[in-house]
């Protein structure tokens, strides 16, 4: 199979997140920005197999999922920068990017909260029998929250076309997973609930693409599946957070040695899908795309204060 399309998406996410970090340092990104760099292979591996009308739901660390599912980088960045042209008119920000027209039903600031919502989205597809797949991405810490477990049961009981993607990046903010979980992990738990599961190296794009192809196929046939993807969070919990209090430099270096992009580049060159020069060109094109997104976002106005009271309700007072 050809890996260049996935590579482009991964690189877009990497360059996008680097830019968000820069803009955050420059004071142009309000609030927190939880970056996805280092985890690109997971979102891209899964979304590679999705149709435009399939649905995804995401987390506080959601930029990568949105871009992988086809969100416009310019409108995404505008949202992250609080501009009126952002997908959510500047009301959501980094933790709440949503692009319904692309099947992106929203990042979420509450750990595990999008999982129950995803059961309903999947149930809607099941009831309509429309062959759509719903994917819910979540971190390793979501496995500690009750709603995750309740939702596994719903998915199993009702045979929901729902793919659970656990991105085990080893940390919840500062606490490593061994200090938070006593059991055998997300896949073992999902199996006890009757789901099919697979453990994948989430830093290996090829492995992610393979496992996801299988998983999306199974879900399209109507079986809920859980993928547990091992990966590493590269930066702080959010772009401004230093990690020295809880993570050694060596640990991070080892992590970054497994860079999913670098590994995929080697593979592309080795199997003759691209030359180093072509990769440099792709990189330049993607940087230009991110430049363009930044230009768009910077030139976009902030919302008018009056917009603050819009979008609370869909209907007028007293109407049905």
């Amino acid at each position: 199979m050809k890996y260049l399309p996935a590579y482009r998406k991964m690189l877009l996410i990497r360059r996008f997140e680097e830019r968000v970090a820069e803009l955050h340092r420059a004071g142009l990104v309000p609030g927190f920005a939880h970056l996805y760099w280092g985890q690109e292979a997971i979102a891209v591996g899964v979304c590679h197999w999705l149709r435009d009308d399939d649905h995804i739901l995401s987390t506080h660390r959601g930029h990568g999922h949105c871009l992988a599912k086809g969100a416009d980088p310019a409108r995404t960045l505008a949202e992250i920068m609080g501009r009126a042209t952002g997908y959510c008119r500047g009301k959501g920000g980094s933790m709440h990017v949503a692009a319904f027209e692309r099947g992106i039903l929203g990042a979420n600031g509450i750990v595990a909260a999008s999982i129950p919502i995803a059961t309903g989205v999947a149930l809607a597809s099941g009831l309509a029998d429309d062959g759509r797949v719903t994917v819910v991405f979540f971190g390793d810490a979501a496995v500690e929250e009750g709603p995750f477990h309740e939702s596994l049961n719903l998915a199993s009981l009702w045979h929901l076309p729902l793919l659970f993607v656990c991105e085990n990046n080893q940390y919840a903010i500062s606490v490593p997973v061994q200090k938070r979980q006593g059991g055998r992990g997300a896949a073992a738990i999902a199996q006890a609930h009757g789901l099919e599961t697979r453990r994948v190296d989430g830093n290996d794009a090829v492995a992610m693409l393979e496992a996801s192809q299988w998983a999306v196929q199974r879900v399209r046939e109507g079986k809920p599946v859980l993928l547990e993807c091992a990966t590493i969070r590269w930066g702080g919990h959010h772009s401004a957070q230093p990690t020295r209090r809880y993570r050694s430099r060596e640990e991070l270096q080892a992590a970054q040695a497994a860079c999913p992009l670098a590994r995929l580049e080697k593979r592309l060159i080795a199997q003759g899908e691209a030359t180093p020069e072509e990769l440099l060109e792709i990189n330049a094109a993607i940087i230009a795309q991110v430049d363009e997104a930044e230009r768009f976002a910077r030139q976009s106005p902030f919302p008018e204060p009056g917009a603050a009271t819009e979008d609370v309700y869909a209907t007028q007072e007293g109407s049905g």
């Binding site: 709440h96 919502i117 995803a118 309903g120 939702s151 979008d311 869909a314 007072e317 007293g318 049905g320």
Partner: protein, 329 residues
């Protein structure tokens, strides 16, 4: 007009909505063959089948979320939470998700979700099955909150709630389920956000909601025997709140007693009393009087339950003090 119970009226609203719109479905515990523990979904399984009368595991957080997801995809789910006390199990889904998703997405999300749950003390159900938490939800922007006091309003408000494109919390009262009342035979809708004068009067205004409207009506009868002519306003909706009807009534009577079954402190009566006191400043003949539950969990033993929950005589006593211009609380 047929006379039916409040539970039957709710049942009719559900059945009619499901017949009219194939996108209406119900999620909840024991709503199938049992017909709901208060009989509200009686017979629906037989007519609509298990896909649309979807019995759930005991997982309030996730089946509330499931309702939200269905709503995002164009369904009109009705989520039944067996007792309103159990809404504590799904507060995040209701108050951080359903209430906020439309706003956070800049209007992309539309969530035509109806949440039904019974409030109130009934026959010593004790502290974890007797709560009246309406103030929590009225304080949560993004939700609409209604509390029917009669069978006709139960039918009309629930029907409107299901048709509404926003999340609506319909709080029903356990002691009203068995109460009968006249209900229009044909199509009947009660708009959200419209209070109703349930009894006209001139001397003072009793403002109630849910079962406390019925208590206020009984109090008004007693007061009438003593030549006090009380008007009874039933709020019906807390969000939107019909400030006009409340203020118009009290502007005339110049005295108000607010009655709610929730705890008084930081509860519904505070908002209504503050509203009236501010808007009709200088025009009242007495301070607004507030009647509600004492600041305790609801006790089990019957005499204790009675001591905590507002009774007709608490309302008449407040009304008398109000007639005499004395502050009460």
């Amino acid at each position: 007009m047929p006379e039916i119970t409040y539970a039957a009226a709710l049942n009719r609203a559900l059945a009619e909505a499901m017949r009219e719109d194939p996108k209406v479905l119900i999620l909840g515990e024991d709503i199938g063959s049992l017909g709901g523990i208060f009989t509200v979904t009686d017979g629906l399984l037989a007519e609509f089948g298990p896909e649309r009368i979807r019995e759930t595991p005991l997982s309030e957080a996730s089946f509330m979320g499931c309702g939200i997801g269905l709503a995002l995809c164009g369904w009109r789910p009705v989520v039944e939470i067996m007792f309103s006390d159990f809404l504590t199990m799904c507060m995040d889904q209701l108050c951080n998700q359903a209430a906020k998703l439309r706003y956070m997405s800049g209007g992309q999300a539309t969530i035509p979700l109806t949440v039904r749950a019974p409030i109130g003390a009934r026959n010593s159900a004790a502290a974890q099955h007797s709560q009246s938490p309406q103030a929590w939800f009225a304080h949560t922007p993004g939700l609409r909150v209604v509390l029917p006091a009669t069978p006709a309003d139960a039918l009309g408000l629930l029907a409107t709630a299901i048709e509404c494109d926003d999340p609506v919390v319909v709080l029903e009262h356990k002691l009203l389920y068995g109460e009968k009342g006249l209900v229009p035979a044909g199509r009947h809708r009660v708009p959200l956000g419209k209070a109703e004068v349930k009894r006209p009067g001139t001397d003072l205004t009793l403002i109630g909601l849910s079962r406390m409207t019925q208590i206020a009506l009984q109090a008004a009868e007693e007061l009438a025997n003593q030549d006090v002519d009380a008007e009874v306003v039933d709020l019906r909706s807390l969000v939107p709140l019909d400030r006009e009807t409340v203020l118009a009534s009290v502007a005339r009577t110049r005295r108000a007693v607010v009655v709610d079954e929730g705890v008084i402190d930081f509860g519904v009566t505070a908002e209504i009393a503050a509203l009236i006191s501010t808007e009709l400043f200088g025009e009242l003949l007495a301070p607004v009087s507030r009647v509600g539950a004492l600041a305790t969990p609801v006790p089990f033993s019957p005499p204790l339950e009675k001591a905590v929950i507002p009774q007709v005589e608490d309302v008449t006593a407040a009304a008398w003090k109000c007639m005499q211009g004395k502050p009460t609380r």
